[in-house]
Symmetry: C2
Subunit: 419 residues, 2 copies
Amino acid sequence: MITHLITIGDELLIGQTVNTNAAWIGQQLALLGIKVNYSITISDTKKDILEALAYANSKADLVLITGGLGPTKDDITKQTLCEFFDTKLVLNVEIAAKIEGYFNAIGKPFLEVNRQQAMLPGSCEILQNEVGTASGMWFTKDNTSFISMPGVPYEMKHIMETGVLPKVKDTFQTKDLFHYTVMTQGIGESFLAERIKDWEDDLRANDMDLAYLPSPGLVRLRISSSKGNKEAVTKKAKQLFELVPKYAYGVEQQTLAEVVGNLLKEKNKTISFAESCTGGYLSHLITATPGSSAYYEGSIICYSYDIKEKELNVPSSILVNKGAVSEQVVEILSEELLKKYNTDYSIAISGIAGPDGGTEEKPVGTVWVAVRNANKVVTKRFTFGNNRERNIQKSALTALNMVRLLILETEYESLPTAI
Amino acid sequence: MITHLITIGDELLIGQTVNTNAAWIGQQLALLGIKVNYSITISDTKKDILEALAYANSKADLVLITGGLGPTKDDITKQTLCEFFDTKLVLNVEIAAKIEGYFNAIGKPFLEVNRQQAMLPGSCEILQNEVGTASGMWFTKDNTSFISMPGVPYEMKHIMETGVLPKVKDTFQTKDLFHYTVMTQGIGESFLAERIKDWEDDLRANDMDLAYLPSPGLVRLRISSSKGNKEAVTKKAKQLFELVPKYAYGVEQQTLAEVVGNLLKEKNKTISFAESCTGGYLSHLITATPGSSAYYEGSIICYSYDIKEKELNVPSSILVNKGAVSEQVVEILSEELLKKYNTDYSIAISGIAGPDGGTEEKPVGTVWVAVRNANKVVTKRFTFGNNRERNIQKSALTALNMVRLLILETEYESLPTAI
């Protein structure tokens, strides 16, 4: 079975929008054992859309299309689909009534552009959109199924979940592709490869594949079997946790914040953060997980000297003599916060995110992290690099892994995360 | 001129990695007036790579390729390029010395996998990679230029900036494509379209194009001219700011946090945040901008009742009787924080991000925001929807637009941001 994905929109080609739809659709189909073989992004032009449809028709069994279904004048996908499938737009009275009902309910006028959204191709099956005005459409031509959906991510996701995925599951034989991913933090790709060399050779000798997927602060290891051998894959994954326990923290789409949260919940412990250079990003990561209020109390984002001094009792002499980015400061911040917010664990981070503020002794990317409970504090200095965004990401992830190991009563150890 | 982008990697097809490289490359080329016409993502397999190269060779003048150049066994792009361009891998002694030097400098062993990175195709021009071990490669065949780069984003960006973009600029005639984007917050796509209908008709009548690009809480309006008419485009953009001043907040890639930061800096004012449901995301947005310490003092992430009560003096009776998600609570949080952190402006946000915690009276997505200075407080209730991540994003962006209007001494007004 061959699957094509066509994402339409100049905003994707000129990079104004990152193509998260392609990633999400790929994930959802992979869960059904269907692999996207070919993903193309094209312009909002009739010529390019018609070419991509014809190419997909000649190669693929299943074609998913997003984009160009909005109510505004730049959206031309619906008209182009009518041309390709040799059909016409007709008013769908049921859809028209639903859209009008929505606008009435929120007390807003039902505009002509909204009514146009109920004009739909005659020859397709309509896929209901309960969260927007652009309906999904399922066409069939020469044994190829074409599914067109809006490009707005939550509308597309709604139509996928309620209309497309159940029908795709019924219609297409799933193939025996099985992936399982182990997440690691704190070790660079080549050092990790060296550490797990024998394990990897054994994996390949047993007809499985391995991919290294680095992102700032993390390396994901995707083990796959094209024979659907789930047992062998999960056995190898389990071995990996024994091989590199300080780095391997979770599986599949698990975030480090989620793993730390689960540990805290299990042990009925709480946590708080004092963030300087990460500026709230660590707090954002922990609160991205639903239910995080069970273990996360709160944070002080102590960006200025004043807040560090007045709210967390860092002596001004230490700020002046040692600098805000110092072992002493993160020790004090974590200790004072633990008392003030009355939590079982605390994390403090202070660093130079960049691009300015570096010195010879403390270049941009220098970050101090302290993780602590009532009995123990672990502090560590890192030198991450020149990029502000990456420094913030790596600092927060590293701090989470440090606290994970503290909760597990394991020593922290780091290896270069990138050259 | 036709440009193809080929991104290689199963992680992109199965959605484990979002294709941010494609977006970034599209942006950079657009800045040179070069449009990516066709962007395809394919597997790490020889057959798919060879097919994509052959197709690009038949259609495109410029082909950019990312991925598959890592030191691990799953990376096969380099070998496949050798086959396509009929050349062989040879040891590049200069590159080998550089990679070895790096590992010596950080006191780590120079591994065999790292030495393999210096084996490079004989017939290409090498593009130096100062931040990693995978070199870029520039091949030419039948008047088509092919550029291969690693998939790790910061390595690819480095090679693009130092090697690719300067040479692309010299080699290819740029075409007269001009884009300019106006950013809006707080109004949904169809309501915006209705408000600016006459302006949009006039724009189209004058040979320009308009695209509506919605994302959670924002709609970007991209005005373009294929005749390179910068003056006409920027004039229309200026009119838009006069037409919808409460929503239009910035241009191009400007973030709302950056715009608010610039306003504060101009007026020499400071700001602080009390965040409950946004959990640090608002602080993260403001500190994502370099130099934000000039106006941002810090935040209290008051996730628990305890922190709201003890640190920000919200009376327990109000928390019990009115609930943490109430007008009174955000009023008190913003007022107490303004005093405690001694800033000119403060923002407080309290809401039900979801998926749990909603009631009939206060469903998931209910959010109260207060923005304040010494003289004035503006509070407002929103009902954003069911998605936790979007509720957090929309709450933070809405709060930033509210404080932008308070700083500008303009009334806030909101219209539905999505149906």
